[in-house]
């Protein structure tokens, strides 16, 4: 009675685990870009504090390990640069504000993960996050769940949707239910769905709801 399932399990398990291991690593490695990597983005923020989603547009920039830039053009002007453990925020014409990343330790882990993701560094990523993949080469989804308990209290998961070797959406799900969806590269200039809900955005990211 027991023999057949056991045999099946023995046969299947190595294949499954190999697939799971190769999956995220290959996906992440495929995301690696020539430096500097830039992409326009459209960000939709859903927050309980807001009575409507906030839409922002601008450009994302990746300059190498631990160095990120994010420029907001609409609806306000802001440039955030992260380098050498310092976050510099410049708003409009005001003097730039500096925050030491060390002040918010969980954020440091989060940005380390983001940087590893953009750098195609699967090993670093796997150290800080639990990785799972879904889908096939045409449309795939990579989920990152933080391992650090303090970060988990703030961020539930980061989900990357993509097609072939390109990311289409970065979704950050906060632990409190808020989320922010960033459409990048091919989707950056796409027309937003109506009504603008997380569900409709998800369909766009997964390529189900084509424009």
């Amino acid at each position: 009675m027991l023999r057949l399932p056991t045999l099946l399990a023995c046969l299947l398990t190595p294949c499954l685990s190999a697939a799971a291991e190769a999956g995220p690593a290959a996906l992440v490695a495929g995301l690696k870009r020539e430096l500097p990597a830039r992409t326009p983005y459209t960000e939709v923020r859903f927050a309980q504090m807001f009575d409507r989603p906030l839409v922002a547009r601008g450009e994302l920039e990746y300059l190498g390990a631990g160095r990120l830039g994010k420029r907001v053009d609409v609806p306000y002007a802001e440039t955030t640069t992260i380098a050498d453990g310092q976050v510099k925020v410049q708003r409009g014409t005001r003097a730039p504000r500096e925050i030491a990343l060390g002040q918010i330790p969980e954020l440091e882990g989060f940005l380390r993960g983001f940087s590893a993701l953009l750098g195609g560094d699967a090993d670093t990523l796997a150290r800080d996050f639990e990785l799972t993949t879904r889908g096939d080469g045409a449309h795939w989804q990579l989920s990152l769940a933080p391992k650090d308990t303090r970060l988990r209290r703030r961020v539930k998961s980061i989900v990357v949707d993509g097609a072939q070797a390109a990311a289409r959406c970065f979704t950050i799900n906060d632990a409190d239910g808020d989320s922010s969806v960033m459409l990048v590269e091919s989707l950056a200039a796409t027309e937003l769905p109506k009504p603008l809900t997380p569900h409709n955005l998800d369909l766009i990211c997964r390529g189900v709801l084509a424009k």
Binding site: R45, M49, F50, Y76, I82, G102, I104, L107, E108, D174
Partner: protein, 777 residues
């Protein structure tokens, strides 16, 4: 009962009484280690403040901690663990590591933030201000800091709690890593304020022990190491070092002393018995203090034992002067008048200390007088009755005859003493250093590498200077706060022009009642604020009812009574403010701490513009002036003591010439010791004075005994034997101390060793019968 049995019974009784006394002392006596109880009572309000602040000021109770030896993530984790453990310990007033403390204002104090914050002083809390703030919050929510801010926003859209937390963080905070303070060397930094005063070594030792234990109990320590620094740590360290070295040297000299007595008297029994009088004296002295004061200062104990060293001579004299055909009791009777003169003159001299009005010196007097009397009386009445009947005549001791002949043959030129006096005077005149050492800390120096580490940590932490305080004087606590607010712009100007790195004034934590009241009245009512809020968020995505908790808080703030310092004391930062406000004789003093003072004169203008109600207090200069005042009192006591001693010797002898032959060598020897110390570059301190006193006491004995007319050469040899044993035993103790690495032990050791040598030589040189030699024997 046989003589032998009676002797044993008496001995047993004596030892039993000593045991009982030791038990009583151990039960009743408290040893205090607070340096200040040895200091004179403060006279003026300022001196009181200094005495208090030297030990209890906010700066001197700070301990600086650094966790290193492991990577920053782990060090940060240990830092958080240590903070949690120490905050639960009542021995610490405050423990901070830089982590943002959301409880910086406890829940019931939260509405008060609108009275405490200066944010709305320039521009009122209206639609314009809210619109600008809320627009920034929208941006904040898209920034990396969003997760941190979200829980605060509905109640606090202008982030007043964060602004206050920033205002209350140290003026020059260290850099942040992993959420806590870090040094450039990669150590996690913490600041700990002990409840105990900084210069109470015992209490500080306890606090440091608690920190080390808490650190040792942390999980996952790995190779991490904890470094502690700060005034309290140094006090403890220096005390332990001094004690260790004194103990080590003490053991060594005890062994030498035992060997010496064995060689001199060739009897184990004598060795044990000789210790009884001085043990009796010491226990009696401590017992008298226990009964009289209940508490004794550690310094009194150390000084007292040093001064009581004179009493070791009593049994030695008895042992060396035993002669064939006479019982021990008969020998003692022959010596007693001289011993009594020595004891009485010393005791009467110490009475001057008792009249000094300084508790520490009064205790010293009670200890020494009762100790000397008991040691003397037990030598006179008890020791001879328990000594074994068999003994060796010291006059026949090997080598003593030739030593005596050598001493006798020595030339004794009459012109030598005046010449020595001139030489000494010249040496004193040309001495290269200041006469007095006013910095007591110079005698117990902290190792240089530790001082450098302290400087590095203090710099990294931006911890306040221990030396300076800004003192604000007003007739009430609120008056201090108002004054503090008034001078804040001027102080900020000083910081801007780099006269000082930072100054922390009391109003930084709590504004005056008037300021709070003004802010309260400027707060809009609920209807006005709700309208302003609605207008401000018109173009923003915030939910309409999101900020209801904010409206509630502002409305509550409008009904609050302004916070008094007393009420603020219950808040998490209450202890910090309490340390900055001191009541003194009906007036209130505010104490501001100073970081990195570069220009002390810059504060003079501040004093002038406030009619002297604000001034910079230099604790080092002030404490040195206290030491000077203290020394003056001690010198007065010494002067009276010398007069009393001379008078006693004159009265005892009723012969000016004899008294002169005793007092002259003593005086000249003391002057010579001073001269040698001074020409060697030594500046004198309290410890030197005590050592000089002991040496003079010993010198009095030498002079008295050499001056004595003896019936035969054998007795003269016995005198020499006794004196040599006394001198060698004194040198065994003090010459060893003179080699110590610690200046305080060296000061005592060197002074007494020199003293013993000079007193011995001069009392032989200037003895009366020496000049009458030829018709003498």
């Amino acid at each position: 009962m046989t003589v032998r049995a009676r002797r044993w019974l008496l001995l047993a009784g004596w030892v039993l009484v000593l045991g009982a006394l030791a038990l009583f002392v151990q039960r009743t006596l408290n040893i205090s280690t607070d340096l200040r109880s040895f200091m004179p009572p403060a006279q003026t309000a300022d001196q009181k403040l200094i005495m208090e602040q030297i030990g209890e000021g906010p700066g001197s109770r700070l301990l600086l901690l650094a966790i290193g030896g492991i990577d920053e993530t782990q060090a940060a984790e240990l830092s958080r663990g240590l903070v949690a453990a120490l905050r639960a310990d009542a021995r610490f007033d405050e423990v901070v590591n830089g982590a943002f403390d959301e409880d910086v204002l406890a829940d019931d104090f939260l509405p008060y933030r609108y009275l405490l914050t200066p944010s709305f002083d320039a521009a009122p809390l209206d639609a314009d201000l809210l619109a600008e703030e809320l627009a920034m919050r929208v941006e904040d929510l898209g920034s990396p800091a969003a997760t941190l801010l979200k829980p605060l926003l509905p109640r606090d859209p202008t982030l007043e709690v964060m602004k206050l937390a920033e205002r209350w963080s140290p003026p020059k905070p260290p850099r942040m890593r992993e959420g806590v303070w870090f040094s450039n060397e990669g150590e996690a930094l913490l600041l700990v304020q002990t409840r105990a005063p900084g210069f109470d070594p015992a209490a500080q030792g306890e606090a440091i022990g608690a920190i080390e234990a808490a650190f040792a109990a942390l999980p996952d320590r790995g190779a991490a190491s904890l470094v502690i620094s700060g005034p309290g740590y140094f006090t403890t360290l220096v005390n332990a070092n001094t004690r260790d070295e004194a103990q080590w040297l003490g053991h060594l000299s005890t062994i030498g002393f035992v060997i010496l007595l064995l060689i001199a008297y060739r009897s184990l029994a004598v060795l044990g018995l000789a210790a009884l009088p001085i043990a009796s004296g010491a226990l009696a002295g401590v017992g008298a203090i226990a009964a009289w004061f209940g508490e004794m200062h550690g310094i009194t104990l150390a000084f007292g034992f040093t001064l009581l060293g004179v009493a070791q001579e009593y049994p030695i004299r008895v042992l060396s002067h035993r002669r064939a055909g006479a019982s021990a009791l008969e020998s003692v009777r022959a010596l007693w008048p001289l011993l009594l003169t020595a004891i009485a003159s010393a005791c009467i001299a110490y009475l001057a200390f008792f009249a000094s009005g300084v508790t520490g010196l009064e205790q010293l007097a009670v200890f020494t007088i009762s100790g000397l009397i008991v040691a003397g009386l037990s030598t006179r009445h008890l020791l001879p009755r328990v000594l074994p009947e068999r003994f060796r005549d010291a006059a026949d001791a090997p080598g003593i005859a030739s030593a005596w002949a050598f001493v006798e043959r020595m030339p004794r030129p009459r012109w030598l003493p005046p010449l020595l006096l001139i030489v000494a005077a010249t040496m004193l005149w040309f001495a290269p250093t200041p006469f007095w050492e006013n910095n007591l800390a110079a005698l117990t120096p902290v190792p240089k590498d530790l001082l450098e580490r302290e400087g590095r940590l203090r710099g990294a932490l931006g911890a306040p200077d221990v030396r300076y305080l800004v003192v604000l004087d007003a007739d009430s606590a609120d008056g201090v706060l108002a004054l503090s607010e008034r001078i804040t712009p001027a102080v900020e100007a000083l910081v801007a022009r780099d006269a000082v790195e930072a100054v922390e004034l009391p109003s930084r934590y709590l504004p005056s009642l008037a300021t709070q009241e003004r802010r309260r009245q400027q707060l809009p009512d609920r209807v006005t604020l709700a309208a302003a809020l609605a207008e401000a968020q018109r173009d923003l995505p915030f939910r309409a009812d999101l900020f209801a908790p904010f409206l509630d808080d502002v409305e509550r703030a409008r009904t609050l009574e302004p916070l008094t310092p007393q009420a603020f004391a219950n808040s998490p930062l209450g202890t910090r403010l309490a340390a900055m406000l001191v009541e003194r004789a009906g007036r209130w003093l505010g104490l501001g701490t100073v970081v990195g003072l570069r220009d002390t004169a810059a504060f003079d203008a501040l004093g002038a513009s406030t009619d002297g109600r604000v001034r910079l207090l230099d604790l080092k200069a002030a404490s040195e002036s206290l030491v000077v005042a203290y020394r003056e009192r001690i010198l007065h006591a010494f002067a009276i003591a010398i007069v009393l001693l001379a008078a006693t010797v004159f009265i005892a002898f009723r012969d000016i010439k004899r008294a002169w032959h005793v007092l002259a060598p003593m005086t000249l020897a003391t002057i010579l010791v001073l001269a040698v110390l001074r020409i060697g570059g030594v500046s004198l301190s309290l410890f030197h004075l005590v050592a000089l006193t002991l040496a003079a006491g010993l010198g009095l004995h030498y002079a008295l005994f050499f001056e004595r007319q003896v019936p035969d050469v054998a007795e003269a040899r016995r005198t020499l034997h006794a004196t040599l044993v006394c001198i060698i035993s004194a040198l065994l103790v003090f010459a060893l101390l003179a080699w110590s690495s610690l200046p305080v032990l060296r000061a005592i050791g060197l002074t007494v060793s020199l003293g013993v040598g000079f007193h011995f030589c001069l009392s032989i040189l200037m003895a009366r019968h020496a000049q009458e030699r030829g018709n003498g024997d």
